[in-house]
């Protein structure tokens, strides 16, 4: 018996709706098996993982905060990937955004006005854009593979930040520990309610703007054409080089914004590592969201939920962090696998029938 894919004439709306549900169901079943094997009540475990984080206002707030950088970066990357441009280095652009944004409170610690915050945010975006422009430039000018250069640049900027906070930007009153001064007042984003900071609005705004751009504007059309049919795009007068630069600067700028948002809210200072891998996790978010800004929003929340659920599982049930990671991996696998159903119909053929079909 073998499995055969048949391309559907058009995207199945039905499957598009049900594939995530099916994926979730399969994950839940697999998860239940794993949890029972570890001697846990699977229902309890699943409840803690998926539902408990949504039962308290505080953890819902935390969910929004955690999803913010993922959505910001993921939205930018989804445009990038649609254009067939492979920015894998959002983590580095995030870090550069944090460095640029953090420069203002570190250099002018006494400057306290709403403009401080605006300047930080603008600098953050500029930092991310500039750092994103490097692989784009290297690709346009020297045809250097952008997957590689953007990834390598992540390590470089992380070491640069490390040097900054251990050397020139170290808090003079900080016992020589690798931290900058802690930010205060207008060097931090205001809180909207509870523990939700204003950065959440950036994520929502980014999603809306990009959704409109992709659906209604010529630029969105250009991105799609250059991504799926670059030759046709060239005949239409679009430039591949400009598209590479545009998508890198867009995704880099959003990653930079995510970086400065983090240091102006959750982290509150510069330190050797700012992000627990948001730039890489956002790649998953972009694909889970099917490279669609609205989808990215949902995917970002889902991934954030799985982080929170993993934590909750450790605390409430003593499940190790590794099981949480395995669980996350399985969830991704099933979502990816089930997405196949949207474009394809799956049939199982016995080998005899396959042979017959071949003979016809």
């Amino acid at each position: 018996m073998r499995l055969v894919l048949e391309k559907r004439a058009e995207r199945s709306q039905m499957a598009a709706l049900f594939s995530p549900i099916l994926a979730l169901l399969l994950t839940v079943i697999t998860g239940a098996i794993i949890f029972s094997l570890r001697g846990l009540n699977p229902l309890d475990a699943l409840y803690v993982y998926f539902v408990e984080p949504l039962t308290a206002q505080w953890s819902i707030e935390q969910l929004l905060v955690k999803a913010t950088p993922l959505v910001l970066i993921g939205a930018g990357l989804s445009v990038c990937y649609l254009a067939n441009v492979w920015n894998i280095g959002a983590e580095g652009q995030l870090t550069m955004g944090a460095i640029f944004g953090g420069m203002i409170p570190v250099m002018f610690p006494a400057w306290q006005s709403p403009l401080t915050l605006v300047a930080m945010l603008v600098m953050g975006v500029i930092g991310g854009m500039a750092y994103g422009a490097i692989p784009a430039l290297l690709k346009n000018r020297f045809h250097a593979n952008e997957i590689l250069t953007s990834l390598m640049l992540v390590y470089v900027v992380q070491l640069f930040l490390d040097w900054l906070v251990r050397g020139p930007w170290r808090d003079p009153a900080g016992f020589n520990f690798p931290k900058s001064i802690t930010f205060e007042g207008w060097q931090l984003l205001p809180y909207l309610f509870g523990s939700v900071h204003a950065g959440v609005l950036f994520a929502v705004a980014a999603v809306i703007v990009l959704a409109i751009m992709m659906a209604r504007m010529l630029k969105g059309f250009e991105v799609r054409v250059m991504g799926s049919a670059p030759r046709a795009g060239r005949f239409a007068g679009f430039s591949r080089e400009r598209m590479v630069m545009f998508s890198f600067m867009l995704s880099g700028g959003l990653a930079g914004l995510a970086g400065v948002t983090e240091i102006a809210s959750v982290v509150g200072q510069l330190q050797p590592t700012i992000s627990p891998g948001y730039g890489f996790a956002a790649i998953i978010v972009a694909f889970l969201g099917r490279l669609n800004p609205i989808g990215v929003l949902i995917a970002g929340l889902l991934l954030a939920l799985s982080y929170l659920g993993g934590e909750a599982a450790q605390i409430t049930l003593g499940i190790s962090d590794k099981i949480a990671k395995v669980f996350q991996g399985i969830l991704l696998f099933f979502i990816l696998a089930c997405d196949t159903l949207i474009l394809y119909r799956i049939r199982f053929e016995t080998s005899r029938r396959a042979a017959l079909a071949a003979a016809e």
Binding site: L138, A144, W163, F280, V326, L332, A337, T340
Partner: protein, 292 residues
């Protein structure tokens, strides 16, 4: 042993896991499949290799287990991306996530355990170093001098035509993905059995990503991959050597040198457009579904 030989040997051992994993990925990519899950396959190889060697007492059983574990992970990736035509980039990242979690789980009881014996040496060089060089030669020969290599490259460059000519695109890709898994698993096993004989969580520490970078850096050519791995190893080791001289260069700068040099070398090599274009698998990362 004089200083020069000692440093040379250090460079070679540092480069060997990178070379092994990169060779596997090179073949995978030549067939048109981009597997970003090298890190996940490597770390599974490391834990399985160590575990098998620890439980059986034989490092060779460990090596086989490492290869098997890498292949098992590759099967998962293959099913997802080849059979179900899921996105390769996302599937590779998921594979890494899964590998890091699963290896930690499997390895819980191996932490803090020493290994009784290491694999043997040939002329004072461990056999896996020798093997990695032989493998480079073999991959180079098969890819460019045999019909099998021709088919692999055809599948990677134009899967439509390869299919029309009657080659089983999916089958060829499965084989190449499995080969990549085996090599990555072996590279992981090298870490936990030879290089630093122990198991600790996340012990691959990003080497899978470096291996991926090396493949592109080498523009998909086996001997250039070998040179790239040694160059990368050499710069990391020389960075340490420079530190011991006390010149006062910030160590962060020295640590970032291997990456900067990789970028610079890439720019120089890619500038030569003819060469890269000739070697980049045209169908890299694209899913294939046979029409019927």
């Amino acid at each position: 042993m004089d200083m020069f030989t000692a440093i040379l040997l250090t460079i070679i051992t540092a480069a060997t896991p990178l070379l092994l994993a990169a060779l596997g990925e090179l073949v995978t990519e030549r067939s048109g499949v981009l597997n970003l899950g090298v890190e996940g396959m490597m770390v599974m190889g490391a834990v399985s290799g160590f575990g098998a060697a620890f439980l059986s007492g034989s490092p060779y059983v460990g090596i086989l287990a490492a290869i098997a574990a890498g292949m098992a992970m590759a099967v998962l990736f293959g099913f997802l991306t080849l059979t179900l035509v899921a996105n390769q980039v996302a599937a590779g990242l998921a594979l890494t996530l899964l590998g890091l979690g699963l290896s930690g789980l499997i390895g819980e009881s191996f932490v803090g355990q020493p290994l009784a014996t290491k694999p043997g040496n040939v002329f004072g060089i461990d056999i896996l170093v020798v093997f990695s060089l032989l493998l480079t030669a073999a991959v180079s020969y098969v890819l460019f001098r045999t019909k099998v290599g021709l088919i692999i490259r055809a599948v990677g460059d134009n899967h439509g035509s390869a299919h029309a000519l009657g080659y089983g695109v999916i089958a060829v890709r499965y084989a190449c993905v499995l080969f990549g898994g085996a090599c990555s698993g072996l590279a992981g096993g090298y870490l936990s059995l030879v290089y630093t004989p122990q198991w600790v969580e996340n012990m691959t520490a990003g080497r899978g990503w470096i291996a991926l970078a090396l493949v592109v850096f080498a523009s998909w050519l086996p001997w250039r991959t070998c040179a790239g791995a040694y160059l990368f190893g050499a710069i990391s080791i020389l960075a340490y050597t420079v530190q011991t001289l006390g010149w006062g260069i910030p160590s962060q700068f020295l640590s970032s040198l291997p990456y900067l040099v990789t970028i610079a070398a890439l720019v120089v090599i890619s500038g030569n457009r003819l060469l890269t274009r000739a070697n980049t698998p045209a169908c890299l990362g694209q899913a294939f579904v046979p029409d019927r």
